[in-house]
């Protein structure tokens, strides 16, 4: 396989950051060179464990996801029946929580937990990034920060889904979908915290804003809180749960949020650049991949990357 310029850069940066010695470098290069040129053939022919093969999320991220998951749903189920109080389902939901007297206390308490979760997350990623910078292993492409490449990836992915491209783009640890989702959630969290606090402390917000803005701000917050909540719930229901539960290849669910691991075929298909780093960082993964490709006679002769020995149907 001949890597693209971008993939080659990612691989070399990773080898450099991981201080890979020459012997290992040679081994990695040899493995890459005998892989089939077509990435589709690779991810279609690997063997994956449904609960995950490759380490992706540390325990902090998994705890934060769990906190977000629990707080988000609890906040939605205690908040929406208060806003849509005339809907037929509002009263049963409120009663289920013990009435509004109870649900509003739950709502505010869980909101505090959600804020804690957000701060915990900011602390984790900040300290993690600082540590990586200090160790000289920080690579912005491996973070959730949006880059211009994401726009290209989005365009190429759409072309692939439309049948105009033969394979999906080489995407990084976090692809464009995950970045949109992450920043939508971050923005949503911020909106919910500010608007929620404007309900809880209206006098404080009115006192720090000019009189001409105080009323407009409150109006905006009154609209933002339920609209953002509903939008978030629909995005979660229609998109996030689609991506992690309902999408072909992910059904009935991805176990990553519990095990912290992603399946091999998923990593190669949607996060190929990260998979190259996995090959650099994990000798066992190199062995597994080599064995799998060899058993299916998909390895190419060195220097003949375009034509695998056999089996490429």
């Amino acid at each position: 396989m001949q890597l693209s310029k971008h993939a080659r850069d990612v691989l070399e940066t990773s080898m450099q950051q991981n201080k890979i010695d020459d012997a290992e470098k040679k081994e990695i290069e040899e493995l890459i060179s005998v892989l089939p040129q077509d990435r589709v053939v690779i991810y279609k022919n690997v063997v994956s464990n449904p609960i995950g093969d490759i380490y992706r999320y540390n325990i902090h991220i998994r705890i934060q996801h769990m906190l977000t998951f629990v707080t988000f749903l609890t906040l939605a189920f205690t908040g929406l029946p208060i806003y849509f109080f005339e809907a037929f389902w509002a009263e049963p939901f409120n009663s289920l929580m013990g009435g509004v007297n109870v649900s509003r206390v739950i709502h505010r308490t869980i909101a505090a937990v959600m804020i804690f979760s957000m701060l915990y997350h900011i602390l984790t990623i900040t300290l993690g990034s600082v540590a990586r910078i200090k160790l000289g292993i920080f690579d912005i492409r491996r973070t959730i920060i949006p880059l211009f490449k994401d726009i290209r990836d989005f365009k190429d992915d759409i072309l692939y889904f439309a049948g105009r491209l033969n394979e999906r783009p080489e995407m990084d640890k976090f692809n464009y979908k995950q970045k949109i989702h992450y920043f939508a959630a971050a923005f949503g969290n911020l909106v919910m915290i500010i608007s929620g606090s404007s309900f809880l402390f209206p006098a404080f917000w009115a006192s720090i804003l000019p009189e001409s803005m105080a009323s407009h701000f409150q109006e905006l917050m009154r609209l933002s809180h339920p609209h953002e909540a509903l939008l978030a719930l629909l995005v979660i229901a229609f998109w996030h749960w689609y991506n992690v539960h309902l999408a072909p290849g992910r059904f009935p669910m991805q176990w990553t949020f519990l095990t912290g691991k992603i399946t091999r075929e998923h990593q190669i298909e949607e996060h190929f650049l990260e998979y190259l780093r996995n090959l650099v960082e994990d000798p066992e993964e190199r062995e597994h991949l080599l064995d799998m490709m060899e058993s299916r006679e998909l390895l190419t002769e060195i220097g003949d990357e375009a034509n695998p020995k056999s089996g490429d149907s």
């Binding site: 077509d38 009435g99 006098a203 009115a206 290849g249």
Partner: protein
């Protein structure tokens, strides 16, 4: 002849028995019950409604007006049978029979009546114009029972009273009068909102007044057409509907806090400088509950709506929110469907079985080697 005499005696005995029962409960010195004791004492009004004139003495005797003779209020009745009534009772009439124990003067509701008359709700008893839509005393006040949840004064209380006051009847009356007033007789927030909504939530009535004000080139409150609807959707309104008692109901803001029972009869238009919700008084009114309220806080809209005429900022903000929301959801659902079609074409299956999800035949000709 004997049969006829027997029938007359039976009827007379029955009347005597009936009137005795009534007399035992309610002293009908003016013989009004002679006719009004009959349940079918009623008429059909011009607009087809059935108006009942039936008085149940056993109920009336437990009401706050039990000691007021009928003609103290119905003072236009001068003969029996009386002529058709076209004026009705006005609540500022002085009672001839009941004296105010504090002043010795004839008792009346004049103080409250005058306060009400000067308020935005004030009207005459008989109105033929649009003013007839305004509430009169009986729109809000019926003739309430003393203690509807008690069959009578508790025996242990009366037993104690009569040790000094001797007269059991006096003790019972005094108990009813004081116990009702000592207990909280203020309407609940839900009842207050329902009462105000019975007129302010009547769309036809509101439309009539909006049109008339327009024709008269008269100013109406900005929230007048949407008062009930906007309150119901506000924080205060929602919490009130859920039974909260510490949340503001209509009267908590629109009436003065001091001397509540009088001030609720003195409601003024919000644009009147003496109204608690006027620009001049709004901060003080908000501070009744929101102790940190200032000018900025008082500028917040407690009755928000998204109607263009009411709040143009919110109108467009909501439109933009809805547009963004709809586009976002449609785009994400579209992308998900698009992705499913695209990857299915390439041979992906729904579930990961035997180490792979790429078990299907691909239309692009690159399948897993089994």
């Amino acid at each position: 002849m004997i049969r006829k005499t027997f029938t007359i005696i039976l009827v007379l005995l029955s009347c005597l028995l009936f009137s005795n029962v009534a007399m035992a409960i309610f002293e009908d010195d003016e013989a009004c019950l002679m006719c009004h004791k009959y349940p079918n004492m009623a008429r059909i009004t011009d607009d087809g409604a059935r108006r009942s004139y039936y008085v149940m003495p056993e109920i009336f005797t437990n009401t706050v007006h039990r000691n007021v003779p009928c003609r103290d209020c119905h003072n236009y009745i001068n003969e029996l049978p009386h002529k058709p009534v076209d004026t009705g009772v006005t609540c500022n009439t002085e009672c001839h029979s009941i004296k105010n124990p504090a002043t010795g003067k004839p008792f009346s509701h004049k103080i409250i009546y005058d306060a009400y008359s000067a308020s935005v709700h004030g009207r005459k008893k008989i109105e033929t114009s649009i003013e007839n839509d305004k509430p009169y005393c009986i729109t809000c006040h019926t003739n309430p029972l003393y203690n509807p949840n008690e069959e009578g004064p508790p025996k242990h209380v009366i037993d104690r009273c009569v040790l000094c006051h001797e007269d059991k009847k006096f003790a019972e009356q005094w108990y009813k009068h004081t116990s009702r007033r000592i207990k909280e007789v203020k309407r609940s927030s839900i009842e207050i909102v329902a009462l105000c909504s019975s007129c302010h939530g009547d769309k036809k009535l509101i439309d009539r007044h909006v049109k008339r004000a327009k024709a008269d080139n008269r100013e109406l409150g900005k929230k007048f057409p949407v008062a009930v609807e906007s309150y119901e959707h506000s924080f205060h309104g929602k919490l009130t509907q859920y039974g909260f008692t510490k949340t503001a109901n209509c009267l908590d803001c629109h009436a003065e806090k001091e001397n509540y029972y009088k001030s609720v009869h003195e409601i003024l238009p919000s644009r009147h400088k003496d109204s608690p919700v006027s620009k001049e008084n709004r901060v003080a009114t908000c501070k009744r509950c929101h102790v940190y309220a200032d000018e900025n806080y008082a500028s917040l809209d407690p009755h928000p709506t998204s109607y263009r005429d009411d709040n143009i900022f919110r109108y467009y903000a909501e439109k933009i929110y809805n547009m963004i929301g709809n586009i976002a959801i449609a785009a994400l659902v579209g992308l998900s469907i698009f992705e499913t079609i695209g990857r299915r074409r390439d041979g992906v299956a729904w579930r990961l079985i035997h180490g792979t999800t790429w078990r299907r035949k691909s239309k692009r000709g690159r399948d897993r080697i089994e």
